[in-house]
Symmetry: C2
């Protein structure tokens, strides 16, 4: 754990420090804390097909409409109409947090419009905004589940009611709007809602908090985007109030469920409901950065470190328990009962992104890559119309088919479902994919950093002015060659940095140019324009006067590799996983020969896996079945492993596409022979 | 799986077949289906100290009063008074099933009085009965949560309301009373309640069922005890109605939660909420036996076989998931998140007992031994005033102290608690311990079988008349020598059978007598009175004219032994457990040298464990800590196990007493070196 001192505004390198509203697609970005780095604006990067480009395109074409259709069908949008019309009553469709799904869709639509300029997305957004705005009470309160005729009173159930949680998502949607088109009706609605929250929950007023963190995040982002310190201060109050046991417990769940057990700045690890823990951490990071609170930032970094090192799956997934959708104890990482909620993956990316921007540490971008490829990308079906909610690493029983028109009552099940009873994940995927490319690069002074690799055209504005244009061409993640061609550059030395992921032992970088350059991190003797030079995980840096036509080629090794669990992770002891580049692979039952059971496969760890199609092949054996003693629990005096009865070429496929060829059993970690 | 044809009444060997009320301690037993065997009457066996005698004595002296005090304090008993007084309202202490705790305590008091003749227990029972009886409506309906002023209407929430569940426990309490003192006020109350249920839920009436099985069991037992076929028929109707998806689902739980997914006679394994699944199975077994339904009995046996072989822990514990307190998939047996609810252990014993009585198969008695010693005996603290609810096989974080006066909101936590918010386990332990000795022996024709070993004096009435008196002396379970002295016997040949548990490879039996005897199962050449002869797991039989003074000595090997998981049990791969006799042992952090972490212990599997005190010592190493890469999830490219840095004598103690010397971390399965 490194301690960081947050860069003070005006103290040096960052131009992102001033909390000044910025508008227009080029400047827009999900969050822009005044740290040492700023993320790419939504107009600064344009994906050009490839892995993420296709996901983003499908999201825009199919998922946004899919989400809207389901919410119309279920009456979640009409809930706003009923409030506006004064026709609420005791019966209201949807959970108490369904408003937030509408807001997350608004955020996704705002990014989508900012990204593409598509007037259709803008029209949908404006129409939805009108319906939302019409439901806002004169004093700024806005919620369709509380406070109106036939409903419980405002803020009568802060533990479970999710009112402030919903408001937080409204504010995030407004920030997306603000950063793509500037002030508009949605921003005005959000301002009134935020002002209402500050009046109701400010110091000396109702000193309470919401059971589900999110308002912290929304207030901090909106405060930063509008330059409104009252919102930041209110976010800070909510962060500080938590962890003091003031929330009324929910049924059998203790205060850790909503992080009300230990104050944020005293906690060492994330615990309880994973999405809550991570939204809170993201909000705390925003508050820390905006209030120059080094102690609070250090607390979030400390929690990240311990939780990543001990409570995070190979996929980057977080959440080991179904019961409370929560983190488990250290080393408690069961593959079969992994919850790894998609929303927790989204939230983890949000936290790591903030910590990267604040500290510039590569490990945060590394975890984002892992989580984006293996949790976020795993959730949506290729057609963008069905989703995983939970993302286990082992499926023992093939899922039952989900009816295409049915609301899935369960967060689990081994097949992607079009919609859920609790349907937080689809809209969370939608807003993340719509803005994915803004995570791909960052700017810090005269340094441009490529953080995530995808075929893209970039045009990044440097803090001191001037523009760096880059054309990235790659088949990443399946192929590790990333070709970066300079298309524009100022007439002064700049630094181009490329992230070398932690798994990329044996990476090389080559610079094709006639000019003088320095490749930091490259081995001695690496001459620009010369053959590829080794570069260690971390950063590959090129500092020089860039000239259009210069090409930097990073080659990351994407041969399949075995990955072993830390011996303290009991649940997958004696098993091995196969990774390829940033992708976690898995074994699916459909790829096993007939008559071979998943539970009888053993990997030969002495034979390295080799690439095949989009995955890998590993040498394996089929064993057993074991000599089970009838009528006894499955434990006995015989230590001998079952004998091999056949050899097998075990085909591993990308985990993010599992169960797409039909319901299957699956495992990421496979026992070794 | 063996199919059994249920013995028809009058068809042969059993005298337990007639559904005739029997009264008086000597005849009393928890259930007496008309199968081939009958369990011991409560007055036929008297424990004399030892492992179970002490548990039973503490139960009678401390636990019964403890339960009553808590239920008085929390108002669960006063709920009956309020119904009687007509002062019910919207606010009612306790969950909707709290009446059942009062009934289970009544059952325990009935057995305790039957066992000891203690007038104190009888007075408590009669006083409680009066308060319960006063709350019964004129038509027989009896429930303190529904159907009265300010309460929801009768049977308006069959999925979650537990009304029939509570009634089932009332009927079981009445059966205990009926079989210890005969007809009384409690039995009369139960009759009226059962009649009410038959009227309300009979064929052509309200053809529904209760979300929590138990009424099936209560009706079948009461029907059998009173010779009332209407009750048996109503039990049958409830069994047949289940599994057809008619119960309204509870929140995010599917129909498998309450076994409403597959009809009972079609299901292959237990699934969903474990206690529900097992109470249902027990009720179905009773119905099968009483209605001579071989198909239904075969279904229950089939479910037992698959569930024991694939979904049961080494301790006999059942329930792999916290989320729904339920069974997991096949082979899903995580040690750390094992739920293994104490009540599921009690219920499992109830099911196995019924199947043993119906079939005579030793495997059922074997599982009862495992579950009784390692689940039921694990729950109560030595003083009988605190309990485990969940019984995990691994505790990663030492529990927090439970305040002696606090209601524990959680079913888990690593320490025994005096009472729970949902407090089903203490009274379930109480009724089981009070009647434990009735499980110790059975009678079939002229065969007397010792099923469970404990220091005891037995006087068993044979079906055809005559009495066999036995004095059993043993230090079981720590010592495997069981000395059985004949104290009385009829003047004709009888068979004395002793169970040889499945784990007891190397057992011997010796008969000291001057008369001719046959030791079936003994090696050829084993001569009565000669040195001990080997006997295989199953039954050791002595058939002869027994003479007072004859001594049969069974020696079961109780040297500690390693036990290995079936290779399909992923969660404990590469780990080994230590057992001793019927006891599962465990490693507790308090027994590790300072500075050694539980997660770093590795057992040397090449060195057999040796006995020590009440447990065992195994050779072990302390390894690591592993070379964890900072800032990454706990998975990496290094397959090398961490190096040993010290040798250790690992002390294993009985699992059933873990956490009694203070909160600790614990594990049953320990990785091997």
């Amino acid at each position: 754990m490194t301690d960081h001192t947050i860069a003070r505004p005006g103290s040096g390198s960052s131009a992102g420090s001033a909390a000044v509203p910025v508008a227009g697609p080029a400047a827009a970005r999900p969050v822009v804390p005044p740290g040492t780095h700023r993320g790419a604006g939504i107009g600064e990067v344009r994906l050009d097909g490839g892995f993420w480009g296709r996901l983003q395109e499908t999201n825009g074409r199919a998922t946004l409409r899919h989400c809207l259709d389901w919410m119309e069908r279920l009456g979640w949008v009409a809930n706003f109409d009923r409030v506006a019309a004064g026709t609420t009553g005791g019966e209201r469709p949807g959970w108490q947090f369904s408003d937030s799904e509408v807001y997350k869709l608004l955020e996704a639509l705002a990014w989508e419009h900012g990204r593409t300029g598509d007037p259709g997305a803008n029209e949908l957004l404006e129409a939805l905004t009108e319906r939302v705005a019409a439901a806002q009470d004169p004093d700024g309160y806005l919620n369709t589940c509380f406070g109106h005729a036939g409903q419980p009173g405002r803020y009568t159930d802060l533990s479970s009611g999710h009112e402030l949680y919903c408001t937080g998502h409204l504010l995030q949607a407004a920030v997306a709007r603000l950063r793509t088109v500037g002030e508009d009706r949605l921003v005005a609605v959000a301002r009134r809602a935020a002002d209402h929250v500050c009046r109701e929950f400010g110091e000396g007023a109702r000193e309470e908090l919401c059971g589900h963190p999110e308002i912290e995040l929304g207030l901090a982002e909106l405060g930063r985007a509008l330059g409104e310190p009252r919102y930041t201060e209110q976010a800070r109050l909510f962060v500080e109030r938590r962890g003091r046991g003031t929330l009324r417990p929910i049924a059998l769940l203790g205060p850790a469920y909503f992080q009300d057990d230990v104050p944020v700045r005293e906690a060492d690890a994330w615990r309880g409901h994973a999405v809550r823990a991570l939204y809170l951490a993201a909000g705390a990071a925003d508050v820390a950065v905006d209030t120059l609170d080094d102690d609070l930032l250090a607390a979030v970094e400390r929690q990240w470190t311990r939780s990543v090192e001990r409570r995070t799956y190979l996929t980057g997934g977080m959440g080991s328990r179904h019961q409370d959708e929560g983190f488990g104890d250290d080393w408690e990482l069961p593959p079969d009962r992994a919850y790894c909620e998609t929303c927790a993956g989204v939230a983890s990316v949000m936290v790591s992104w903030r910590l990267f921007l604040a500290t510039g540490e590569v490990r945060y971008a590394d975890l984002m890559e892992r989580t984006l490829h293996n949790v976020v990308a795993t959730s949506p079906r290729t057609d963008g119309r069905a989703f995983f909610y939970a993302n286990p690493l082992q499926q023992r029983v093939a899922g039952a088919d989900v009816l295409p028109d049915a609301v899935n009552p369960r967060a689990e099940g081994g097949v992607r479902a079009p919609w859920f009873d609790v349907s937080c994940c689809p809209t969370n995927v939608a807003r993340t994919l719509a803005s994915w490319h803004t995570y791909a690069a960052s700017v810090d002074g005269d340094t441009v950093t490529l953080l995530q690799y995808a075929a893209a055209d970039l045009s990044l504005t440097l803090d001191a002015g001037g523009e760096v244009g880059l054309r990235v061409r790659t088949q990443y993640p399946l192929d590790g060659t990333v070709r970066v061609e300079v298309t524009a550059a100022p007439d002064r030395p700049v630094t181009l940095r490329l992230r070398v992921p932690h798994w990329a032992d044996g990476a090389t970088v080559a610079v094709a140019t006639v000019a003088v350059a320095t490749v930091a991190g490259a081995a001695p003797g690496a001459v620009p324009g010369s053959p590829p030079a080794p570069v260690a995980p971390g950063w590959a840096e090129v500092r020089r006067v860039l000239v259009p036509g210069d090409v930097v080629t990073l080659v990351l090794p994407t041969a399949p590799r075995f990955t072993w669990p830390d011996p303290r992770v009991d649940a997958v002891r004696g098993s091995v996983a196969v990774e390829r580049g940033p992708l976690v692979l898995c074994l699916e039952s459909g790829d096993l020969p007939d008559g071979f059971a998943m539970e009888d496969v053993r990997i030969d760890p002495a034979t390295p896996p080799r690439p095949a199609d989009d995955g890998a092949v590993a040498r394996a054996f089929v064993v057993g079945p074991p000599d089970h003693r009838p009528g006894r629990p499955p434990f006995g005096p015989d230590p001998a492993p079952p004998a091999a009865r056949a050899e097998l070429e075990a085909r591993f496929v990308p985990y993010h596409r599992w169960a797409e060829r039909g319901a299957s059993t699956m495992r990421v970690f496979v026992p070794t022979a």
